[in-house]
Subunit: 238 residues, 2 copies
DNA sequence: CGAAAGGTTGACACGTGTCAAAGTGGGTGG
DNA sequence: CCACCCACTTTGACACGTGTCAACCTTTCG
């Protein structure tokens, strides 16, 4: 998993605005650099952490793309999220001092290791960081709430539309195109996340494509009619 | 919503072990009493908070039973949880300074109001409290993960079995029977939580009843064969 | 006591799962 | 550098679990 370790500083990281709280002066920012111990590389397909691993750190993704998942004893897998640059993984480990989910790199990745003891120590010193950590965790709770709504109430088309809109919105926030992108995950992984089978994912992609809403070729996706997607996801706003 | 306010202390509350971190001495415990501003009553059917309300406080349930839910603009409701004595609601509000879900009392209830500013102030002073708050939030993330697994991978029978086992386990931890109880929520609310229609909930109850696994009469439930329920929920452990 | 809300049950419809076969593309080794 | 292989994707036919609609029953409460 760890192929290299580099010591780095948040204070001159271009993802600072995504990971870190705002409104620090130079001096405070340097103090905050202490929160990150090292930066490590994770090869595509390998686990950043796995179910049962002792919890020591949160991880901020610098480059690359991850999925988190949990699995039952009889082998069923549930993808609980897809994470990209600037997002944090590992919050699940705090409650029981070991991780309950797996975090797997879907492409070669680099993550900043933030030992949780550092996070807590600095949080007590900097209320702004404390508030930031609380917001991170609350954001994750709210995110999962909205997935519950997807899985509990929405049909296949609505789920996939919501998924695509969410993905493209996050990619756009990171400076990528808001119309085209390459999926980093398989149909099966999308299906697991959205509570449907891979065939249904594929069929729904094809349906959107036939309707001229998107263009799909394997993992390449171009959104031709974002309004149509929004309408499918939330018919009431039209 | 608020019919009465009472000033109280955690230090002599019999639910302390459920809400509060352990391992404090007398003096520290008295300091911690400051976290709770007041205690309020919430009438059955009324909202402790609603979507859009400004976030000010977390709430520890002292007596009564709540549901939390979110809803789409076109009126679909998703129940995101059922909460009982000793459990905390309101964590969803931290990230955006307003609540995104509704918390509704399913029976007359009493809750302790913990202004979040107090929580954060005392967290900086008491590392044990800080850790406790982090665990609470992480526990909620892990709980939602397991519901994602339910909704994404399980069939109706598995969902209801998991629901009943979870409910009875939490009730038992509070000193109630581990075999019989009264449901505080309707079939429709159970269905919303578990991602199924009320008729399916009712039918699944009837099926369990015909198989001699449970006894059901409206909201009264008695678990006759807990092992059978566990087997339905998780076949691999048999 | 009557009405309203909630729960049960049946018949049928429909969306998604299952199983199978064929197509596509990328990576690897000869 | 090409050819093969394997993982992934697409598509079709059919099955099945759950949703939908409707009728009836039970309980609660004014």
């Amino acid at each position: 998993m760890l192929t290299e370790t580099i010591k780095v500083a948040c204070s001159n990281c271009n993802l600072r605005e995504l990971c870190m709280p705002m409104g620090f002066d130079q001096t405070e920012m340097q103090k905050l650099d202490e929160v990150v111990a090292t930066r490590i590389k994770v090869k595509q397909g390998s686990n950043l952490f796995s179910h049962g691993d002792p919890f020591t750190s949160l991880y901020a993704i610098r480059t690359g793309f991850f999925k988190t998942s949990i699995s039952t004893e009889d082998g069923r897998e549930q993808v609980t999220g897809f994470q990209m640059a600037g997002e944090i993984v590992g919050l699940d480990g705090i409650v029981n001092d070991h991780h309950t989910c797996n975090a797997i790199a879907l492409e070669d990745a680099e993550v900043c290791v933030m030992p949780f003891a550092n996070v807590e120590d600095l949080s007590r010193e900097f209320p702004v960081l404390q508030r930031h950590v609380h917001k991170m965790m609350s954001r994750e709770i709210v995110r999962e709430n909205s997935i519950l709504m997807l899985l509990g109430n929405m049909r296949a088309e609505e789920r996939l539309a919501a998924f695509l809109l969410n993905l493209v919105q996050r990619l756009h926030a990171r400076g990528f195109s808001q119309s085209e992108f390459i999926l980093r995950m398989s149909r099966e992984e999308i299906g697991s996340y959205l509570g449907m089978k891979l065939e249904t994912v594929s069929r729904t992609f094809s349906k959107f494509s036939e309707e001229g809403i998107i263009e799909v070729k394997q993992r390449y996706v171009r959104i031709l009619n974002p309004d149509a997607l929004k309408k499918i996801f939330n018919p009431s706003t039209c």
